[in-house]
């Protein structure tokens, strides 16, 4: 059963140095506020997983929280590069990071296997690619029925999955609608689940295209209005595309980035 907590309490309790954490949300519902709280609490040596690192992991990497990054597409969508990510990979600043790189389908299926309580699952992918040679949690098998080669991808079970949603009720049931990405899979695969929400309500009025995650599968719910900005929350606020377009200006230079971080995250 989910407990209602303040964001700083939830991050303090459920993210420890060295943990594997997944802050997911596919363009929609990216848990920026929770990411900033991780930065403020100066968590270190995290293994962080996200299909699209996006600005949130660019910030975590630049702030020195990350030891290892699992990802499948590391750009600023429609804009260009993630400069803090590139600076860490290309120049080891502020510290070298280890990469575990997948295709979207591959990382998705690592979550699917984790959610399914299986040690692995199978897919048609990685075969013939250079990714198949470098990805550490991919092996190749032959189908026991047809002999066809398939890729086995290892289950990923984060210590803590961190997500943002539209609403929760007092009992901790969580309601989501719109693009949901791997929301369900991260909830089911993670040992602990922290969900920030736009609002806590008495009754979750169901609506088209929504789903509800029962409280039973959630560890902590934190009411954080605006917690996904500058990404968006359907029926609450739009994606701040201007801020995404402006991010290169903030992040390209180490000093400019560090000043922004001090002022806008650490000082917030």
């Amino acid at each position: 059963m989910a407990e209602h907590l303040g964001l700083s309490d939830a991050i303090f309790r459920y993210v420890q140095d060295g943990d594997t954490v997944a802050l997911e949300g596919f363009t929609h519902l990216i848990p920026f506020a929770a990411g900033h709280e991780i930065i403020r609490q100066q968590k270190r040596n995290l293994t962080v997983s996200r299909m699209t690192p996006d600005l949130i992991y660019d910030q975590l990497i630049g702030a020195g929280c990350v030891r290892k990054l699992l990802f499948s597409w590391g750009g600023n969508p429609g804009v260009g590069s993630l400069y803090r990510f590139r600076d860490a990979v290309e120049n080891g600043w502020p510290a070298p990071i280890e990469l575990e790189e997948h295709s979207h389908a591959g990382l998705t299926n690592r979550y699917v296997a984790g959610a399914s309580g299986m040690p692995f699952t199978v897919m048609k992918g990685y075969l013939g690619t250079s990714l198949g040679e470098i990805a550490p949690h991919v092996r190749f098998l032959d189908c026991p029925f047809t002999g066809e080669p398939v890729a086995a991808v290892r289950a990923l079970n984060p210590d803590t999955g961190i997500l943002h949603a539209q609403r929760a009720d007092r009992a901790g049931n969580v309601q989501v609608w719109g693009i949901s990405g791997v929301f369900r899979e991260v909830v089911m695969a993670s040992r602990q689940v922290v969900v920030t929400v736009e609002e806590v309500v008495d009754v979750l009025e169901r609506r088209p295209g929504d789903f509800v995650i029962p409280s039973m599968a959630v560890t902590a719910v934190c009411e954080v209005p605006g917690g996904a900005w500058p990404s968006y929350v359907q029926d609450h606020y739009e994606r701040d595309n201007d801020w995404y377009r402006k991010w290169p200006e903030v992040s390209r230079d180490r000093d400019v980035f560090s000043a922004w971080l001090d002022e806008s995250v650490m000082g917030a």
Binding site: M51, T52, A105, T108, N109, G125, L131, P149, R239
Partner: protein, 250 residues
């Protein structure tokens, strides 16, 4: 006489390949422009799938990002990312996928991962794979759209992010990929298609005003040219108007 930009000629030529009723897996950038241009002109029933989950999206404006709200709001249905990749794409329901890349080689292999010979010490770190490897593997056919830059058209890519058509004849059959792979490469200079015998990319058309030498100058391998080289039909003023209208909304 109409004039056009590099992106415009690529978008127009790309859109012409789409037939009404097709299902199309759409990435951000030119692929999204191409698919929505076709939908706004000759292919109103084009079925667009974006990797974030919208099925049958009908955006009025072009999205900046793959998961923009308008995609979900205009879609017939929004599904999870595992359902997109496992059921819709790997399950074999998509007719055509559009891809771009930082490097393409003579057999249509694509690199969107790293430039340089050493993965661990890259000269340039690129965004990575995203949905590209599965689009390349599973769509019935793939169209590559990218600018014809010399640094991009290389004999062999530094890193195979997405599998093309060779060099080995069993490049696609050995892993059991059901799609035909990159059967069209559209650049701002012309159109390349694989040679039916050995799958090497061959220049089959140039855009109006482009010479073969211009293409050779921007290709790092000795590019084959089809015996009957075609010249692309120039973008019509209707095509350009539709494209500019779409861009002006976005």
């Amino acid at each position: 006489m109409p004039v056009w930009t590099a992106d415009e000629i690529m978008s127009v030529v790309g859109a012409r390949l789409l037939r009404d009723g097709m299902s199309c897996f759409v990435g951000i950038g030119i692929p999204s422009t191409v698919a929505n241009l076709a939908r706004n002109t000759h292919a109103p029933n084009l079925f667009l799938i974006y990797e974030a989950g919208p099925l049958g999206a009908k955006p009025y404006r072009l999205p900046l990002s793959i998961g923009d709200g308008e995609l979900a709001e205009t879609a017939d249905s929004v599904v999870s990312v595992p359902e997109v990749f496992n059921y819709w794409l790997q399950g074999g329901h998509i007719d055509v996928g559009y891809l771009s890349a930082a490097q393409i080689d003579r057999f249509g292999n694509l690199n969107t991962t790293v430039i340089g010979p050493d993965y661990n010490q890259p000269k340039v770190r690129l965004p990575g794979a995203g949905g590209a490897p599965e689009i390349a593997a599973h769509c019935r056919e793939v169209t590559v759209i990218m600018r014809h830059a010399k640094r991009a058209f290389v004999p062999q890519v530094d890193f195979v992010t997405s599998v093309g058509l060779g060099p080995a004849p069993d490049t696609r059959s050995r892993p059991g990929f059901r799609g035909a792979g990159p059967i069209n490469v559209i650049t701002d200079l012309g159109v390349l298609k694989p040679d039916p015998h050995d799958s090497e990319l061959t220049l089959v058309a140039v855009h109006p005003g482009v010479e073969v030498q211009d293409v050779w100058d921007r290709t790092q391998w000795p590019l084959r040219v089809a015996t009957r080289l075609e010249v692309t039909d120039a973008p019509t003023s209707e095509e350009l108007a539709a494209l500019r209208d779409l861009k002006s909304r976005s």
